[in-house]
């Protein structure tokens, strides 16, 4: 399995500030799903921001989809981001547009024909169970539904990689499980998924790799396990799996 993300001794320091990430080395294979965990301030979001080119590493090398991100010029950043689906804790939807328009945006940006846009947006909304809400305003949706709109927008252009930063942070437990299942479904059709979350209780029983960050360093890793009963214990997991 080739890697879609490869971090090699990556560090990031805020200008004039402290190190947020130090010597982070890890890879995400193509078609793999993995979680980045850690407490607030551990560096999870920064790690995802580095992958999405929302900031640049102060040390080390980040490769995404065979592209060395340091080699990208300013004009290459937007086309690069079009290749990634991003999902956010606060949904980042456009509230003056309909659900359909929000999901269609990545395709409109890339210049797809309207007929293709309609077909693919409806397919994406169908995949997240919101086909009947395409004409609604996101303001009329629940938090879980808004997050599903965000996920539909992330998958509509069929990216090879989805990044999700605390996608369940604003959702209730039931909706959080639903959202995680959605990510697993997309992963099952070959999409690589990297999710930053501090909701350990949601993921410890999932058979995916976990990379644990503490103070900007990787302090623990749990390998992917195909059988749930083989899951080893993980730092932070209590006796109830929470």
């Amino acid at each position: 399995m080739t890697d879609i993300i490869h971090f090699n001794q990556v560090g990031y320091r805020y200008p004039g500030g402290k190190d947020v990430l130090s010597d982070v080395t890890f890879s995400l294979g193509r078609g793999e799903m993995a979680f980045v965990t850690g407490s607030s301030g551990a560096g999870k979001t920064t790690l995802l921001r580095l992958v999405g080119l929302l900031c640049k590493p102060t040390r080390g090398q980040v490769m995404v989809d065979d592209v060395n991100l340091a080699s990208l010029k300013n004009g290459d950043i937007a086309p690069f981001r079009q290749r990634i689906g991003m999902v956010f804790q606060n949904f980042n939807l456009l509230y003056d547009r309909t659900v359909f328009d929000n999901v269609a945006l990545p395709l409109v940006i890339r210049g797809f024909a309207y007929s293709d846009v309609q077909r693919r947006v409806r397919a994406a909304l169908d995949a997240v169970g919101l086909l009947n809400r395409e004409k609604s305003s996101p303001l009329t949706l629940s938090g879980g539904e808004q997050q599903r709109v965000g996920i539909a927008r992330a998958i509509v252009s069929k990216p090879a990689l989805i990044l999700a930063d605390e996608p369940t942070g604003n959702l209730d437990p039931e909706m959080s499980k639903e959202v995680m299942k959605l990510f697993e479904r997309f992963n099952q059709v070959g999409v690589s998924v990297l999710i930053a979350t501090h909701a350990l209780h949601l993921i410890v029983h999932m058979p995916h790799r976990i990379i644990h960050l503490d103070g900007g360093k990787i302090t623990a890793r749990r390998p992917r396990t195909p059988v749930l009963s083989d899951l080893p214990p993980f730092p932070g997991e209590d006796s109830r799996g929470r």
Binding site: G52, L54, G75, A78, P79, F80, R81, Q82, R83, I84, M86, F88, N92, L93, L94, D96, L105, P106, V108, I109, R110, G111, F112, A113, Y114, D116, R119, R120, R153, K158, A160, V189, G190, V191
Partner: protein, 317 residues
């Protein structure tokens, strides 16, 4: 599966994509302005007034030029003949001069006619009785052909001056030259006012777009997050500038037209008092087109400068 479908469905070819995108933004930006009609109208009105001022001044100078041109047509050369030239020779000379190229008409005024005219018009009739001789020379009034420019008239004047019967030849156009100088100043003033108000239009549009950018900061940030290039984000704002410029210049056209209509009656009344058939002209088709184009270009420039300055400040978080 994803790879299979991505092979089937690809973005449109560049030209088709640009056509589709520009059509979309064309109507999207228009619709966005239409959803805020009061704000849009006020901005367009400000732009309209700013454009109408230089356009109105341009109309004024055009009309003054038209008047002065008709005055130039009535220019006459006055040839003062030597006292030794007889009345018969003077009249014959007037006929000879009328046959010259560049001359439309001549009129011979004998010494006696000159004196009679002066006596009746000057109010110094009694004073003339004191004089033993008629001090006034005979004059041939020469009207150059219509459309002759100043240089051609001056060449004609030089030729006529050299005639042996002519004592003095005079082209009294100082007052016209002064008028032209005044028109020149007004023309320059129109240019300066136009330049300043053009800057005002750019600033007005720029400021309106800046507020729009601020209001849509989050939207822009989200668009950057999902991979929208600057050209995609910039486009609606540039079209907004285009619409503001177009609406403003249409307002300006209406204002100038209204002003012309309001002044045409009084100006014709004034002209009739001077036995003139002068009518006030508005903006020509070409000038109207230029005004529309100027408004659009200024609106676009204002939008471009603002978007260029502020878009880079917004980075996705």
């Amino acid at each position: 599966m994803a790879a299979e479908e991505s092979l089937q469905v690809q973005p449109l070819p560049l030209m088709q994509r640009l056509t589709q995108e520009h059509t979309r933004v064309f109507f999207f930006s228009l619709g966005k302005l239409g959803r805020n009609p009061v704000g849009t109208l006020l901005t367009a009105l400000v732009i309209g007034v700013a454009l109408a001022l230089p356009a109105g001044m341009h109309v004024l100078t055009q009309n003054l030029s038209k008047i002065s041109y008709s005055w130039q047509d009535s220019l006459q050369l006055s040839l003062f003949l030597k006292d030794s030239v007889s009345t018969e020779r003077g009249a014959a000379l007037a006929r000879e001069i009328r046959g010259r190229p560049g001359v439309q008409a001549t009129r011979y005024i004998s010494r006696e006619q000159s004196l009679a005219e002066f006596r009746s018009q000057s109010g110094f009739g009694d004073a003339l009785d004191v004089l033993q001789d008629n001090p006034l020379p005979a004059v041939i009034a020469v009207t150059p052909e219509r459309g002759r420019n100043k240089l051609q008239v001056e060449v004609l004047l030089g030729e006529l001056t050299r005639l042996p019967e002519v004592d003095l030849a005079k082209l009294d156009q100082k007052w016209l030259e002064r008028l032209y100088a005044i028109l020149g100043i007004i023309d320059r003033a129109v240019f300066i006012v136009g330049l300043l108000l053009g800057i005002a239009v750019v600033v007005t549009v720029g400021n309106t777009i800046r507020l729009d950018i601020e209001a849509r900061r989050e939207e822009i940030s989200v668009m950057k997050l999902i991979g929208a290039p600057d050209s995609f984000i910039r486009r609606p704002f540039l079209y907004t500038g285009f619409w503001y410029g177009l609406a403003g210049s249409v307002f300006a056209l209406v204002l100038v037209l209204a002003g012309t209509l309001a002044l045409s009656g009084p100006s014709e009344t004034l002209a009739s008092l001077y036995d003139s058939s002068f009518t006030l002209s508005g903006l020509s088709f070409g000038s109207s087109l230029l005004l529309l184009l100027t408004g659009i270009v200024l609106g676009w420039i204002g939008a471009w400068i603002t978007v260029w300055r502020h878009l880079a400040d917004i980075q996705p978080q």
